[in-house]
């Protein structure tokens, strides 16, 4: 085990997989950075430093710096995937999906089905998402609710450096299109990461990060840490929380959620996307449909308000679900008998 930052787990996993399989290629805006400038190639290495060094190691055929053309990037990934390559395309900010959505939604996600199962489409689309940088409404969104709702895509949301390693490797080796969502506020997070170059985490298997008898808390990404902090605080008061890190939202580990709720009888879903038609509302509905008899309180979701994301620090803090809001939600579901 080595200590590693979340962002370094991204770049080292890509490098390991590119070494292992020559069909793995990367493309995106500024993933090399500095091309055609006096500073020269690798002056940047990706604005999130998630591709630093790849160009020097693998060259221009496999690390393709693109113009700002999100549709063309996603379309090229689709064409590469249909031609026997395993592209890893970077969408610099998740907010830019709107510009390229046709290629993700109508093309990549649907090829296998429309073509009668006679093709595979091994593309990974990485994107940085989430609030916490005061980057305001067009550079802060959590977009998993949109992408999770699209059949044909797998959606991954790692919350630790180790999970980046294990889930990204699985994504790169997966023969279906995978959306890999990296939280901007987690890039600097440090954690233990297995050294094993075959370390993989299967999709659709949630991780129980705290165990308790009283409340089930489901989350993933940045907010998972918030949930764990609340669980730790309440444990001191004798309140036990199951904290479930979903890891992937499509496929989703319904069984882990239902099993936990069968014991606790209380559910809170903490989700960074706006509330309407969200991951939280989806999970609450699933539990209401499938574990109604076990419930001792209504399932509760903790989302941001239904607004675009604000700029000012005070406003963004008020927007994001906080530990206080999560704690209040736990106490609320406990108030039912």
């Amino acid at each position: 085990m080595a200590k590693m930052m979340y962002r370094d787990a991204v770049v080292s996993t890509i490098a390991e997989e590119m070494e292992r399989d020559e069909n793995v290629v990367c493309l995106g805006e500024d993933i090399v950075g500095g091309m055609g400038t006096p500073g020269g190639p690798e002056a940047i290495g990706g604005i999130w430093s998630t591709s630093t060094g790849l160009f020097g190691k693998f060259g221009a055929d496999r690390v393709i710096d693109t113009p700002i053309s999100e549709s063309a990037i996603m379309g090229a990934a689709a064409g590469l995937a249909l031609s026997g390559k395993r592209p890893i395309a970077e969408l610099m900010f998740a907010d830019f999906i709107g510009v390229s959505l046709d290629q993700i939604w109508n093309q990549l996600a649907k090829f296998r089905y429309m073509f009668g199962g006679k093709t595979k489409c091994p593309a990974v689309i990485r994107m940085a998402y989430g609030a916490g940088y005061n980057a305001a409404a067009q550079h802060s969104q959590a977009v998993h609710q949109i992408l999770t709702g699209m059949p044909g895509l797998k959606v991954v949301m790692p919350s630790t450096p180790a999970d980046v390693k294990g889930l990204l490797r699985t994504a790169i080796r997966d023969d279906d299109p995978v959306i890999f969502l990296e939280h901007k506020a987690l890039y600097g997070m440090t954690g233990e990461v297995p050294d094993d170059k075959e370390y993989m985490i299967p999709f659709g298997h949630a991780r129980l990060t705290r165990a308790g008898q009283d409340v089930t808390i489901v989350s993933t990404g940045l907010l998972l840490g918030f949930c764990e902090a609340v669980a730790d605080k309440l444990a001191a008061e004798g309140i036990g929380c199951d904290v479930i890190d979903l890891r992937t939202t499509s496929p989703i580990d319904e069984e882990a959620i239902l099993d936990s709720v069968e014991v606790t009888g209380r559910l809170i879903v903490v989700d960074e996307a706006p509330p309407r038609c969200s991951l939280a509302s989806d999970i609450c509905a699933t539990v209401a449909e499938k574990a109604f008899a076990a419930l001792k309180a209504p399932p509760l979701s903790v989302n941001p308000p239904h607004t675009p994301i604000p700029f000012a620090r005070e406003l963004e803090s008020a927007y994001l679900p906080s530990t206080d809001k999560i704690e209040a939600a736990v106490r609320k579901v406990l108030s039912y008998r």
């Binding site: 290629v25 055929d61 496999r62 393709i64 693109t66 113009p67 053309s69 549709s71 063309a72 990037i73 996603m74 379309g75 090229a76 990934a77 689709a78 064409g79 590469l80 995937a81 249909l82 031609s83 026997g84 390559k85 592209p87 046709d102 290629q103 109508n106 093309q107 649907k110 090829f111 296998r112 089905y113 429309m114 073509f115 009668g116 199962g117 006679k118 093709t119 595979k120 059949p151 044909g152 797998k154 997966d174 023969d175 279906d176 999709f203 659709g204 496929p251």
Partner: protein, 324 residues
Amino acid sequence: MQLSREALLRAYRQMKVIREFEERLHVDIQTGEIAGFTHLYCGQEAVAVGVCEHLSVEDKIVSTHRGHGHCLAKGCDVNGMMKEIWGSREGLCKGKGGSMHIADVDKGMLGANGIVGAGSPIGVGAGIACKIDGKGHVAITFSGDGACNQGTTFEAMNMAVVTKAATIFVFENNHYSEHTGFEYAVGTQKDIASRAEAFGMKVWRGDGTDFFSVFETMREVLEYVRVPGNGPAAVEFDTERFFGHFEGDPQRYRGPGELDRIREFRDCLKNFRKSVTDAGVLEHADLDALDTEVLAEIEESVRQAKAADRPTAEDVLTDVYISY
């Protein structure tokens, strides 16, 4: 006309298969037995065949919503195609794609496409793959004059130049994007090729109603793009669409006598027949024999499509993912 007798017969046969496949669809669609939207390619056969006759199975093509001609020219199975359009589970895509989404990746046919302009970026990706592999293979994207106004086409042309993708943009200008005229919708009101030229690509132009013009033009284009390091190219073929945008389109936007005129003077099959018989390379009887053979082949494909298995409700859920 430097083609061998065999090559000429083959090209004619390929064009005739597309023509009869679609003329038959045009009749069968009226009965209501075929579901959904169908966009016929009739009139443009010389482009699909003139391009694809140069390609091997390792070369890729990306097609449009008007894709039957490209699919057949690239080697997709006639019976599999007909069954697909009839919605059978024995169809090329198990009845899940239909007319607009036929693909056969094993044949290098990367898909027709229901979204106008969506193919160009996919063709660039396939062209980058060809460039990386360095074996002289290319990827070709067919687009119409409608698609040339989409931003994706512009992004793709620029990206192809920047990445030196081994890709060719083949623009089939049939003068109509859906029901809107080229003169109105294409701002240059001149051509499409000049746009590609503006992106720094070498461009060619040809008569899309003349197989020999397409074939010879593509010989030059391919010779250029197959050279490693040369990067992309574009070519515009002026052509004609015999049927409407979709089947059932009454074509009220056409000028008086327009369809009669193009059927008379701009029919690539008629033009081909005249060229080869005038030159004394083939006899009318040779071509008539092929006509009969093709008609029987199409008749058989319809018979098979009608008799083929229908999909069941269970089939809805298969092929979403490879693994889940």
